[in-house]
Symmetry: D2
Subunit: 471 residues, 4 copies
Amino acid sequence: MDDRSYDLCKSMVSRTYIAQAVEANVPVHKLVNRLLEQKRIPDDPVPDHVIKSLLNDLADMDTSNFSSNCGAGEREGRVYSQLVAECHYRMSHGIGRSGELTSVQPKAAGSSILAQLTNKMALHALKIAGATHVEDGFVVPMATGMTLCLCFLTLRSLRPSAKYIIWARIDQKSCFKSMITAGFIPVVIENILVGDEVRADVDAIRRKVDELGSENILCIHSTTSCFAPRAFDDLPKIAAMCKEQDIPLIVNNAYGTQSSKCMHLIEEAARIGRMDALVQSLDKNYMVPVGGTLFASYDSGFAEAFSRMYPGRASASPSTDLFITLLSMGVSGYQKLLQERKQVFAYLKEKLEVLATSCNERVLNTPGNNISLGLTLTTLDTDRCTLLGSMLFLRHVSGARVVVPSTVQTVERYTLKGFGTHCEKYPVPYLTVAAGIGMRKEEVDVLVTRLLKVLKEVPTRRESSAPSDRE
Amino acid sequence: MDDRSYDLCKSMVSRTYIAQAVEANVPVHKLVNRLLEQKRIPDDPVPDHVIKSLLNDLADMDTSNFSSNCGAGEREGRVYSQLVAECHYRMSHGIGRSGELTSVQPKAAGSSILAQLTNKMALHALKIAGATHVEDGFVVPMATGMTLCLCFLTLRSLRPSAKYIIWARIDQKSCFKSMITAGFIPVVIENILVGDEVRADVDAIRRKVDELGSENILCIHSTTSCFAPRAFDDLPKIAAMCKEQDIPLIVNNAYGTQSSKCMHLIEEAARIGRMDALVQSLDKNYMVPVGGTLFASYDSGFAEAFSRMYPGRASASPSTDLFITLLSMGVSGYQKLLQERKQVFAYLKEKLEVLATSCNERVLNTPGNNISLGLTLTTLDTDRCTLLGSMLFLRHVSGARVVVPSTVQTVERYTLKGFGTHCEKYPVPYLTVAAGIGMRKEEVDVLVTRLLKVLKEVPTRRESSAPSDRE
Amino acid sequence: MDDRSYDLCKSMVSRTYIAQAVEANVPVHKLVNRLLEQKRIPDDPVPDHVIKSLLNDLADMDTSNFSSNCGAGEREGRVYSQLVAECHYRMSHGIGRSGELTSVQPKAAGSSILAQLTNKMALHALKIAGATHVEDGFVVPMATGMTLCLCFLTLRSLRPSAKYIIWARIDQKSCFKSMITAGFIPVVIENILVGDEVRADVDAIRRKVDELGSENILCIHSTTSCFAPRAFDDLPKIAAMCKEQDIPLIVNNAYGTQSSKCMHLIEEAARIGRMDALVQSLDKNYMVPVGGTLFASYDSGFAEAFSRMYPGRASASPSTDLFITLLSMGVSGYQKLLQERKQVFAYLKEKLEVLATSCNERVLNTPGNNISLGLTLTTLDTDRCTLLGSMLFLRHVSGARVVVPSTVQTVERYTLKGFGTHCEKYPVPYLTVAAGIGMRKEEVDVLVTRLLKVLKEVPTRRESSAPSDRE
Amino acid sequence: MDDRSYDLCKSMVSRTYIAQAVEANVPVHKLVNRLLEQKRIPDDPVPDHVIKSLLNDLADMDTSNFSSNCGAGEREGRVYSQLVAECHYRMSHGIGRSGELTSVQPKAAGSSILAQLTNKMALHALKIAGATHVEDGFVVPMATGMTLCLCFLTLRSLRPSAKYIIWARIDQKSCFKSMITAGFIPVVIENILVGDEVRADVDAIRRKVDELGSENILCIHSTTSCFAPRAFDDLPKIAAMCKEQDIPLIVNNAYGTQSSKCMHLIEEAARIGRMDALVQSLDKNYMVPVGGTLFASYDSGFAEAFSRMYPGRASASPSTDLFITLLSMGVSGYQKLLQERKQVFAYLKEKLEVLATSCNERVLNTPGNNISLGLTLTTLDTDRCTLLGSMLFLRHVSGARVVVPSTVQTVERYTLKGFGTHCEKYPVPYLTVAAGIGMRKEEVDVLVTRLLKVLKEVPTRRESSAPSDRE
């Protein structure tokens, strides 16, 4: 309905009612226009029906939705199933164009605007989380590992002779594979153990740089967020070294936006050193389904180069999910989630400590990780540890990991000893659990209750070792 | 509702009605179980509500949807927005696991089953289209160009010393960029002109192989489907050479499943030669939104190697879209679409020929392309040709391309002369239009009417050159 | 999005694309404004997303949807469940006001407009169907029987001393009960048998009027559409008599809009005689769920009086359903349905005649009913007839009725002999089937196939008499 | 998916995952079966997707949804628009049969079960609210006024000579019209003023009964819930008299279920006296859209008689809305709403008293009404009072009523002096506001803020009298 529509309505109901209705909707129009103008997350949550209406208006701007459209190419946005069309809010052209992720797609003005707004709002979210000086960022509709891979491929053209990627070990397969998939030789820097905590060995990194020669090094691949007892990397030191040595720095900030500490480290690192890319998972940070990554950079030149590497038009689904989600949250909702996560983490720690005491175990002291925690399992042998993991999984606790230091993992032709503990010889087996964004206190209570129950049962339990979600 | 539910219903309505209702739903249960057992597209279209109900049941199998679930990891499938959850039918875990696209995700049995069923149905669809002996296939949630890139990266580890990719030129940027992004040197083989048709020069390919040495060649990158006047490659000859020389063959079958000729060429090539991968766009072939690719192979070893290259868990959105779409179509619906496309192509050709005659132009004779057609624009100068493109775009004809032979395009540091025509010096400017799957006869009528109108207007029109969707 | 929104979009995509998008949506705005202005069914079907968008805009006009609204009364349109809100497109205030069905509801401008547009479109639909001079009409959210009841109650205040309603018998319970519920004495006029056809006895009606005295008669309650072999009433004769005698005429046009004959009778009757109300079922005529009635009148005074009788605010659900449906159909779609029904009726007749011949039965000759048909069951005894009905129901044929002349039905304290046949002594048992709006030829084929199969089986079948949908 | 489906899934994912999924869904199956067995509101809220899945299964039980169904009648549940079908969860047959609201519809087992479950849950809701001994109840898809009307029509057949309905005045049009529409003579008993409160004059009722003769009285029409300063009727006294005099009692319990006092009065009245029917608005009590009524009775005989009066099949929409809503609430959610309303009422009272003091007005002392409150407007003249109402409406306060004692209202041929105040001569003008179910404390704050602002502005405001929502 447009202005004339409201005028015409006056033939049916009192003009006062129409005037009132038009006036009542002014705030909605203002909200939408502020979004289009400022391209930042609105202060307050936007109701679903307003989001849907906006998506509908954007969809109407795509050529494939013009009632008069005649598609004469090989890719005309035709969608067979009404169900599918609805899931995508009638936008079918994806994002980007001929291999540039952030380009406007001429056939799809609405989709293009949605993609741009999402990218700007995502950048805003990063700033809210603490990366206040980040320059550029956009949604990449691929896993974080694949996005890291594309970062490395982008660097290849800039540093054609470089073969090595220096990587402070974390025991997560995807990020390790990302280097191999990209065709580089990962140089694994073993971590050091400081108290309970496993930390990146920055001196060893520096020595390795000297050994290999900076021109042969594609980049340093550093990490902010990983399962305890692994601490975040000392990013400012690493970034400073990268700047000094002219080596790119790619940061796997997997789910680090949840931690103000991680974000401040990033800001500080960017201020004093060099940081080429910052890669974060959409689902782990923004409560959307798995599928996308937020690429960001303090160097808009690298961001542009990266954006040009993706060959083809990409899925708009992660962008759409994030668009809806950030509007639904509003700045206030997002900040509330961040604060609540902090509180839930503290609560989890407190509860775990009580439980630990009652079981003759203890919570690992890992001040360099404020997202996840480790609980020692010194009272159990290896089989019982494994059984514990299975039992938790079968009791509907997902995501808890039992780690036994003796595990050896081979990825492609590389072997990592002590896999899971982020170091070759961690002294004790343990269980890790995380307080991720969106976790509620009640979940902590349920977790601790189930964990306690299982810990009591497991020593005497005869249960054939069943699968866990980490098998 | 389960068996007991229906029993309980008998306290409310006559048991005859219940018996009748239960019996009436037997065909639906049979359909679902046949799908789970045979893992092929059902013969007939499945109604939307049955699809939704099946998706709902699958979603209930994901741990994040268990009412008793307690998520203690960093990625627990929490979804903030109800709108987003609904778009994904409450499945949020994506597909694959730790960098294996086809692995089962322990936290998400339902999502994993959906992904597997989709992959099997996609393979079935390929067989229906003519690739009857294809061995393996699955959905990759990336653009075709990015999927080609990942194919090349997969080959890198198998052929570490190879640097070159031999490519029979087609003038589409994404597939060219896919080679550069992967870090290889594209060796462009210029096409030959036979009559109106632009064909791959198989002899030149062979000579280039001899010149470079097969061990230095990563693969041959061949194409089945491209805009007229480009013809499909002579795949059987190329595949035979690849087998003989032990060079992998990667086929960009972008939208070739629509053409039984292309599919028969592929089958024949695989029979007598070597074919490592077959890459096709989901949106161009199956009427889903942009976002995914169907990777397929006649060599399950390569398929497995490829599947292991993707680092991370990937978006389930393209799989879900294809799942819904193939169920909605049924075998009968899909076959009907293929047949109708053939008829629409013939109709388009016929109509264009009549139009051509009336305008002193002619339809290019391109028997090697039965998806798109070219119409000469010899009566117009270059400016008028460009204007024609704009005018069509502004008159809501999307996807029609005006090609002027003098265009030069630079992609990264490579220059392609005559860009758009697939060869350095095509004799005439022309317009190409395609009869893609899902196009209707009425659209052809509209297209031809608008085209005729514009062709009449353009010679005398004073219109500032406006943008087209191909600018 | 408003004009300013589109302007703001120009900061993100080319202004040409925005201009094109705005222009492409002009037809949609025109369509909506034409609807608001002309208040008639649009010529062509309106796509679902346009309907949804319009409903969304209307919903935004209801006070309960103002973001700033503060509800301080006892009925403020609060809706607990999001699912329920969505089913009603966020409109919760119903229609009418303090007991006037067609009044504007001040709290709900959008709902009020929806109700008015629906009423006007419904009137338009009646005119398309043939009642070209009908004056007024609106949706009543009650069953046809209840609406007839309210017609009678409306007449009561106008004719306080009248006690009788003269009714040419049809064997359908609801319309009979409507008179009793309203507190009147139904005077049943038995029909006459002319050939196979059962017809209203207009002479007997006239005699009864004379006998009772017109001032004692509330109205004549006449019927256009009923199951064969009942023919439509001779409305012009009855209406002329009503005019002459000053007796109101209430016409139960249950599903008569489907038959151009019925509609022409109505027009003719209104032209030469008196017709106070015309009552038609929404679900039987317009393919919406059960729930509403279209009340119409050639006398806007009576329509207004009727509208004022409903005490309270009423459900908007039937109006919303009809609103969506008539927009979805468009004039062209509705006319097509009417034409197709005619063809399906002819096809059904033809098929039944062939079947009849093969079974030594015959199709009843009922030229005064062109919606349903009767097939004699002379070769079966009463038990077999009943069994036939059950068997059809159990074989998923719904709505077919087996009628055995000996049935006696008591409704309240009234007894109707030969119930189902519309007369006291119909010579043969028979089966009736209808060709209702929306029936497809394929359904006729299925029906005839199943019927033939059952007719062959029933003579020798040992099946305990099971329920039918007419039990 | 059935048992076999889950078995078949084991070919795709580990049988442990399947076992876990099946086990995880046991509580959902239990919940559904408990509902089907006990037919009461579940203790806890049921998630939307479970409700949708249950509705889907019920819909599958309706013949019109059988894939094999062949409709041969005049009403076969065909639905033209997919949008409409979805709004009704694919159930299109309505409720009831041939004029019995609670009968099973043979063509629609699923719809019939839904209707029965809803009726039982509605009865359960009434019991939760305090009517613990109520015998029977069901949803009537008509406004409360129309339902009252049908109650009176039901009584007509039982008391054919009775002409009068004795009614203790409340100033709400619909319930007054319900008597007139039904064709009876309303005998208005003027209320008495006790302090600020307007109360039914039970003695006057008794005198009127004696005067008219109980056999001439159809029923007493009494009210529990009405805008302050009207108090609830002294139901126990009235019911006892009704029992003694053998006069039916029909109680308009419009929105009384929100008040435990009203409900206790009803219980007490039924215990010691006679109560034939209890009529309550669905939207006012259960936060669903306008459209239905909950009829209930302590006399199942009368309930059955009433149920048989509705001529025709009725809309299922109000039943479906209530079904979804009561499941969504669960017992706990419903009880919480009731408690919160009590608290909000107390809060509203407290806030209004503060405001009153600051404005030299006072809150009327009406202990017999704990849903709404009155605020005197003694400092304003009549015009200013009216203006105040308009200003509130224009400031998006809906439902607040300004009442000026001098208003005279004519309904049909009856005149009510002092309309709005429930008595002929209320001493002061006032404003009434209600704390209805679902109102939140924040709304009270907004209301009081706006009210205060308007009260300050109105004495000096020059505003042309604009419409209010009560005009």
